[in-house]
């Protein structure tokens, strides 16, 4: 087979296959961070098993001088360090690409492809010769392939060494072995192969005002900045690191320096039901409280979510979506909870949803979630996913406005209650569907009975039709009115009016942007809208109404976003062309193009025939 010559500077993808639990994660993040520090746009995707130790795991690094951060499945270099997955890994490399493998054991002839170049490096043997302790021999294999990549890809050695010094500043004995392992891989590569490869790096200046962070860390930080004081949760992949982050930032920013006491309370609940209850209880008292979970947790919380909706208790639920249904694939991503979080719980319920597309928006929308929850006195869902939440993203540096103060909504003070003749919890005083709230302990006149059973506008138990209808109809108005106060959709217009549009959501954004650029280069200009909130507002309705056909790009089997759009805007289902990928990997531009191109080609041929 003929080799396609590859010569790609700052524009390629590397996949690293290792064994779970052998310390490769830190080597891979070292690599990613080094590229970032060289000023080159990068993104990292961790493809890991639901397992502690022993199963295959992968890390994908995409380098893109154009700044594209969506997953790219076109791997030019495979770092194959796990014989368990050699077969599959070697098959995945682009024709003309390279396979870096551990040559301590000879490669099975059946695995050899003649359209890729095999670079064998006896890492295990070299580590056994160079290092004494068993654990070190395993760990340093990872640093060894980083060393080889420094030579092969032309990574700046100064950057790598600087990072190792920072990482091990408190463990000087580890610096030596790490340096030694880097040198081991580097020297071997230089002595045996032409370095660098045609895929290589050159310093850029494109990451200066950026940071590398996961969505879950950013969400956690947003909760701290929004003033959340109570976090309740039950451990679940991929949401666990939200609470890990909240704890870390609280320990850093929220401990009274004088008393050593915490200005926060984190409760690890017995299950997701209890976590939801705690969040509702804390918000009832007037604290800002939240729970991070995933789809399975939302299922369990649904009864409580209905209570918070009907009793109008603010609450924030972070759903870091994973592949469903049921336990599904806990370490793979999906957007399978869109319907669930929009309408969670029995009876007529509808909730405010916010859809971040990257960690920057996780931070920003986490803060917005608390403001909206209090303003509209209702549950708010921050709908993230595993890809956004757990992967490393390069994002513009986060900003904070020190003039920000929480929007607490309508809460009556003791003075206001003192001057009131009678207080009614669910009375629509202002005609905007939002009643006045009181906090327990404020004033005797503010007391009322919070309940999930039928109640009238005064908060009294009722089984009367009219009294019941008055409350539930007002709540419907209230939630609908929130649409115009949610973060506005992101809209990209083409250079000329287009009869076709694309709508997408959350982390699909980056693949859609990339696919759209490629289509533009081919002369097809599509308008594009990314929804950022639910219920949808007029911008979304007008976008749908203003195009003949709209592609709806999302990551679930049943076209849930399309269903929501049909359901909420009343547009014809036939107008919305569904483009879906739901196999558990982050979306790539190929998924979008595969869905869009045939439909466009068909339409074009119909128009010209």
């Amino acid at each position: 087979m003929a080799h396609e010559p590859i010569d790609l500077v700052n524009d390629f993808a590397v996949k690293i296959g290792t064994v779970n639990g052998t310390g490769s994660a830190s080597a891979n993040s070292l690599l990613l961070q080094a590229l970032f520090r060289m000023g080159i746009p990068v993104s990292g995707k961790n493809v890991f098993p639901s397992n502690i130790q022993g199963l295959p795991t992968w890390y994908e690094i995409r380098v893109s001088k154009s700044g594209y951060t969506a997953r790219s499945p076109d791997f030019h270099l495979m770092v194959a360090m796990n014989p368990q997955s050699y077969q599959r890994d070697i098959q995945e490399v682009e024709s003309g690409g390279w396979v870096l493998y551990d040559a301590t054991r000879e490669l099975d002839e059946d695995l050899v492809r003649d359209d890729v170049t095999f670079l064998g490096i006896p890492l295990a043997r070299m580590c056994a010769e160079r290092f004494e302790r068993a654990r070190e021999r395993i760990l340093m294999k990872n640093i060894g392939y980083v060393g080889a990549l420094v030579a092969l890809l032309d990574i700046e050695m100064d950057v790598i060494e600087g990072m190792l010094r920072e990482t091990f500043s408190h463990k000087p004995n580890l610096i030596d072995s790490n340096f030694s392992a880097i040198e081991m891989g580097y020297e071997y590569a230089r002595q045996h192969w032409d370095c660098p490869l045609p895929i290589r790096l050159e310093r850029m200046d494109a990451t200066g005002d950026h940071v590398m962070v996961t969505g879950n860390a950013a969400t956690a930080l947003g909760c701290v900045y929004a003033g959340a004081t109570v976090g309740a949760w039950y451990p679940i992949t991929p949401a666990t690191s939200v609470m890990d982050g909240f704890k870390e930032y609280c320990e850093r920013f929220r401990v009274d320096p004088e008393t050593g006491k915490n200005h926060y309370c984190i409760i690890q609940a017995e299950d997701e039901l209890a976590a939801a209850g705690m969040v509702i209880g804390a918000n009832w008292m007037g604290a800002r409280a939240f729970t991070p979970t995933s789809g399975a947790g939302i299922s369990l919380m649904s009864e409580f979510i209905g209570l918070a909706y009907y009793a109008e208790v603010p609450s924030v639920f972070v759903d870091v979506q994973r592949t469903g249904p049921s336990t599904g694939m806990p370490t793979r991503t999906q957007q399978g909870d869109l319907m669930l979080t929009a309408y969670a719980s029995h009876g007529d319920t509808k909730h405010i949803n916010l859809y971040p597309a990257d960690p920057g928006e996780c931070f920003e929308l986490a803060v917005a979630a608390f403001d909206l929850a209090e303003r509209f006195q209702t549950p708010v869902f921050l709908v993230s996913d595993l890809d956004i939440g757990m992967n490393d993203w390069m994002i513009p540096r986060l900003r904070w406005d020190d003039d920000y103060r929480p929007a607490r909504g309508k809460i009556l003070s003791a003075e206001e209650l003192e001057s009131l003749e009678k207080y009614s919890r669910y009375l629509d005083v202002d005609g905007d569907g939002i009643p006045y709230r009181t906090l327990p302990g404020t004033h005797p006149r503010g007391a009322y009975f919070t309940r999930g059973s039928g109640h009238d506008k005064h908060g009294k138990y009722t089984e009367d039709s009219d009294a019941y209808l008055e409350v539930v109809d007002r709540i419907a108005r209230k939630i609908q009115s929130a649409a115009e106060h949610l973060p506005a959709p992101e809209v990209h217009r083409g250079d000329r009016a287009s009869p076709w549009g694309i709508i997408s959501i959350g982390g699909c954004h980056w693949a859609v942007l990339e696919a759209r650029d490629e289509l533009r280069a081919e002369g097809v200009d599509l308008d594009y809208l990314r929804v950022r909130g639910f219920p949808f507002g007029t911008v979304v309705e007008d976008f749908v109404a203003g195009h003949d056909k709209v592609f709806v790009v999302e990551q679930n089997r049943d076209a849930q976003l399309r269903t929501l759009l049909c359901n909420e805007t009343g547009c014809a289902r036939s107008k919305l062309v569904s483009v879906r990928y739901y196999g558990g990997q982050p979306l790539s531009k190929g998924h979008v193009l595969e869905g869009v191109r045939p439909v466009l080609a068909n339409a074009l041929s119909e128009a010209t025939s």
């Binding site: 309740a232 008393t259 926060y264």
Partner: protein
């Protein structure tokens, strides 16, 4: 239930407490439970306890789950916020609320269905977490609102109103609480206000989770012959093992018992609980001995009552979580938000 609204008029010479309030000020709306329901007596005992402790009504938070018992928070302290949550999940609401505002007085009212079946997990974890609250379990061995099914506290051999016999072993909340390390465990009878009121008062003053299991007969579905939770059966088999007297802070201690027969435990706020031993050498501060005593009385068919176990450690969930003394809801935003400079600094580590 009665449909006649209670008149608001009160006797001019009605006794007032230190706040100048009468016991009527601690009442709530009219009960909608069946006439003669044990739960209404528990409500009356709670009203008396709050009145006698001079509690500011609006500084109380009363919570419940679902069931007959869970309706009762509407029937006392109408100037307190109430939360009638979902079935079996009140403990989590209470834990979250208490985490946010530790300064209120928390009272949870639940039943045997709400606490021992659907909500057993949450009850256990509230005990483990040591949420600072009084938890009253109105125990009648039966599901009233759904018309007479056995609950998990029904004794083996109990006959339902329809004549079915229960074969499943009961879950005893007192045993559960003691084995999970609860620091305040009591059992009483709705028909014995003299015993119940001091226990409720001590429970309100206890720092940590205070469980009071109250046998509270269901007059409609479980007050017949063959029931072990009926008025008649409870009156006959109830056996007070320890007599409790609650002495609030600053009140003069009168010695109406002989020295030696009285054992005192000082509460966190300085008030005192005094035990007068009725059943021989019963020691309400020895968890192992209490468990053994309960096992023995059960084997004799007795229902042991009284403040059965008390351990005043002064610690609760907030001590475990190391939270500030000031309620979290009262912390100013400035103390919570790290600000832009801290964000800049933090992000240096993300490069």
């Amino acid at each position: 239930m009665s449909y006649i609204t209670k008149p608001v008029a009160r006797h001019p010479r009605m006794r007032t407490n230190a706040l100048g309030l009468t016991s009527r000020d601690y009442e709530g709306t009219m009960s909608t439970l069946c006439a003669g329901c044990g739960h209404d007596s528990v409500t009356a005992a709670l009203v008396q306890a709050f009145f006698e402790l001079d509690v500011e009504p609006h500084r109380v938070a009363k919570l419940s789950g679902i069931g007959c018992s869970s309706k009762t928070p509407a029937y006392f302290v109408s100037e307190a916020h109430g939360f009638n949550s979902v079935h079996g999940r009140m403990p989590s609401i209470a834990a979250g609320a208490n985490a946010a505002n530790r300064d209120l007085l928390y009272v949870g009212i639940s039943g045997d269905g709400d606490s021992l079946s659907i909500g057993l997990g949450q009850l256990c974890h509230a005990i483990r977490r040591n949420v600072n609250m009084l938890y009253v379990l109105e125990n009648n061995g039966v599901y009233g609102l759904t018309k007479g099914q056995f609950s998990a506290s029904a004794d083996v051999g109990t006959k339902s109103k329809r004549g079915e016999v229960n074969r499943h072993g009961p879950i005893d909340p007192v045993n559960v609480a003691l084995s999970l390390g609860a620091t305040f465990v009591a059992r009483s009878f709705s028909g014995d206000k003299r015993q119940l009121v001091p226990i409720l008062k001590a429970g309100l003053k206890h720092t940590g989770f205070a469980l009071v299991d109250v046998i509270s007969p269901c007059v409609t579905f479980n007050d017949h012959k063959g029931s072990t939770k009926s008025y008649a059966h409870t009156r006959f088999h109830m056996h007070e093992v320890v007599e409790t007297d609650f002495v609030p802070l600053r009140a003069e201690i009168q010695t109406d018992y002989g020295e030696g027969a009285v054992q005192s435990v000082t509460m966190h706020d300085g008030s005192v609980v005094r035990f007068r031993k009725v059943a021989g050498d019963y020691d309400p501060t020895d968890r192992g001995a209490v468990l053994e005593h309960l096992r023995e009385s059960r084997s004799r068919g007795e229902v042991a009552t009284g403040l059965l176990y008390l351990e005043e450690t002064g610690e609760d969930m907030h001590a475990y979580e190391n939270t500030v003394e000031e309620p979290l809801v009262d912390l100013p935003f400035e103390a919570l938000c790290p600000g832009s400079a801290a964000l800049e600094k933090l992000q240096q580590e993300w490069r």
